[in-house]
């Protein structure tokens, strides 16, 4: 019972420090709106996003953001789009974060394994991401799961590197050395002493990776390599971009602007959250800026 209360006050204190940063709170609020949009899409969306109505309708009472070139309701597409973007972003960042953490722990703890893993990490980091994703996506059938796999494969190396360098510095701390001297098994030390200490860093990393994945997914969809059966913001922009008179008529205002702004706001909210978390985690930065 007492342990529970301590945890709660700890959380309370963390939240107090976090909410000192206004942009962190703003980021959370924006993210929450998008999460609600994604989870309750079927209830919020006025239409089925795949249903065909009159093409190229301007905004009106029936279609608040008009319809696209084949007659789908743009507002509904937009609401369902939140699902794809957020699902891929969270799924990939968590899975690649998990892989990265395990490899980071191992490579920070065992020198030889570390050397080997870091060479692979270096290789991954030297290869530009989007061209590689485009190449793989062009050969594979585009589907959400294929995208998830590609992004995960490309996402773990940075996490591994960050976790490893943290483990390297933690390893020399007194309590870790003491535990090792007392003959505690490596797995115990890693889980009990090191993992809790890299956790804050990992959370920041997950948020940053999520924003990278959203950017990568929308870029790929924009290039026409997304899952054609799943509505995503990048895909809406792809069709808008391919529409011949997108710039000269007023169509862009309701077809191009909304999905673009959705991407911007999602990435922005993740960046704000990441920034606030980083100051929370890294005491050296704390109190430097009062945003």
């Amino acid at each position: 019972m007492t342990e529970k209360t301590i945890e709660l006050t700890d959380l309370r204190r963390l939240w107090d420090t976090y909410s000192e940063k206004r942009i962190g709170v703003i980021g959370l609020v924006i993210m929450l709106v998008f999460i609600v949009m994604a989870v309750f899409a079927p209830y919020i969306a006025p239409h089925d996003p795949y249903e065909l109505y009159n093409p190229m309708e301007p905004p009106g009472p029936d279609h608040l953001l008009g319809t696209n070139d084949i007659g789908q309701d743009i507002l509904s597409e937009l609401i369902y789009g939140a699902r794809v973007s957020l699902f891929i972003a969270f799924f990939v960042s968590i899975v690649s974060g998990l892989i990265g953490t395990i490899l980071g722990l191992l490579s920070g703890y065992y020198e030889h394994v570390g050397f080997f893993i870091m060479r692979i990490v270096d290789a991954f980091l030297a290869i530009p991401r989007l061209p590689l994703i485009i190449l793989i996506a062009a050969f594979m059938r585009p589907s959400i799961w294929n995208l998830v796999i590609i992004f995960t494969i490309l996402g773990w190396p940075i996490t591994t590197r960050i976790i490893r360098s943290e483990v390297l510095s933690l390893r020399t701390r007194n309590y870790v050395e003491a535990a090792r001297m007392l003959g505690a098994p490596d797995s115990y030390i890693m889980i009990k002493h090191i993992l809790p200490n890299v956790f804050p860093l990992l959370v920041v990393r997950l948020v940053v990776e999520a924003s990278h994945v959203i950017l990568a997914e929308s870029s790929l969809s924009f290039l026409g390599l997304g899952d054609p059966t799943a509505k995503s913001w990048g895909m809406i922009l792809h069709y808008a971009f391919m529409y011949p008179t997108i710039y000269i008529s007023d169509v862009w205002k309701w077809w191009m602007l909304p999905p673009g702004l959705c991407i911007v706001l999602t990435i922005l909210s993740l960046m704000f959250i990441g920034y606030a978390l980083e100051e929370l985690v890294n005491p050296r930065l704390r109190g430097m800026t009062q945003v």
């Binding site: 942009i23 989007l130 061209p131 870029s219 924009f222 971009f241 050296r284």
Partner: protein, 326 residues
């Protein structure tokens, strides 16, 4: 010692990329050439005439054993043979050669600009930490940094190209233009360069800025900055002479890595502005399912970036006196 491990690392990476490029089409599920011939199940079947088909088959050499294929592939690469483009019906290498200069021009100008601006703004921000200019810059650059390049490009086209009609919205040069002088040609090229380059600069400046700001915040707390103050040196002099280089050293490689990532933005920006570089070629190759072109473009882009990283690494080794070996 340092150099040798680095060089060995780069050679391995290059070999890995080349092998990956070789094996990817061959290890795809199903018939290795189904993607070329438009077998059932493809979204967009491609119809090839007999001559092109024969050229393709000869290039891939699928009837030979795998090892032989790999050896042939490597030999062809050495000779600059990247295969035959199905869409342009021309050698991939010659198409790439014509496009590379535009990409290099676009990347070169925007890279110089955003790195220089990011470094200067990051340093200013850190030096005035907590002040108005710091907070303002931080918010501004975080915000503009969250615009995907393709979206920002489209917005700039609408604002500066269509509404204000200040800049051309596509291409690298005006079509069918007979230039009266090289200066006129250069001005035309510059005119076309401004919007795409601006897009790239805006979307990439935030990363460098944040790196520099954090690095500079670390440097400001160092003892040698205090020593410099104790000598009576002026603030701007300390910033320029004592802090800049120390703040830049630990982030050089990270900035160089970012230049590598920048190619992603370039692909998107070239596509949006129909800028005839390698990035737009990649988009075309995807659109027309021109796989040899896609692979050739991928290989060139990757090699150029790895080369850039290599140069950055070597420069770094020379910059830091602690790593320099006599």
């Amino acid at each position: 010692m340092h150099q040798i491990t680095k060089i060995a690392g780069y050679v391995t990476i290059i070999l890995a990329v080349i092998s990956f490029n070789f094996f990817l089409p061959r290890f795809m599920p199903g018939d290795p050439l189904s993607f070329l011939t438009g077998a059932p199940g493809m979204d967009m079947p491609i119809v090839l005439d007999e001559a092109t088909r024969a050229k393709l088959l000869a290039y891939y050499g699928l009837d030979k054993p795998l090892l032989q294929q790999f050896a042939d592939y490597m030999i062809k690469l050495m000779h600059g043979d990247l295969g035959w483009s199905t869409y342009y019906n021309a050698p991939v290498s010659s198409i790439l050669a014509g496009r590379l200069k535009w990409t290099l021009l676009l990347i070169g100008t925007s890279t110089l600009l955003y790195i220089a601006l990011g470094i200067v703004l990051g340093a200013i921000s850190a030096w005035n930490r907590g002040g108005k200019s710091d907070v303002g810059l931080l918010l501004l650059l975080l915000s503009v940094g969250s615009f995907p390049p393709f979206f920002l490009g489209m917005l700039l086209i609408i604002l500066f190209g269509v509404k204000l009609n200040l800049f051309p919205v596509f291409g690298a040069q005006s079509p069918f233009m007979a230039y009266s002088s090289p200066v006129e040609e250069a001005m035309d090229i510059l005119h076309h360069l401004i919007l795409p380059a601006t897009t790239l600069v805006i979307t990439h400046i935030g990363g460098v800025y944040l790196l520099m700001r954090n690095s500079m915040l670390n440097v400001i707390g160092e003892d040698y900055i205090l020593t410099a103050r104790a000598k009576g040196l002026a603030e701007w002099y300390i910033l320029r002479k004592h802090a800049m280089k120390n703040a830049l050293l630990p982030i050089t490689t990270m900035i160089a890595l970012r230049v590598g990532f920048m190619i992603s933005g370039t692909i998107l920006v070239e596509t949006v502005f129909a800028y005839p570089g390698v990035g737009m070629l990649l988009f075309d190759a995807v659109m027309y399912r021109d796989y040899p072109l896609l692979q050739g473009a991928f290989l060139i882009i990757t090699l150029v970036i790895i080369a850039a990283n290599f140069v950055a690494d070597m420069v770094y080794l020379r910059l830091d006196p602690r790593l320099r070996h006599d």
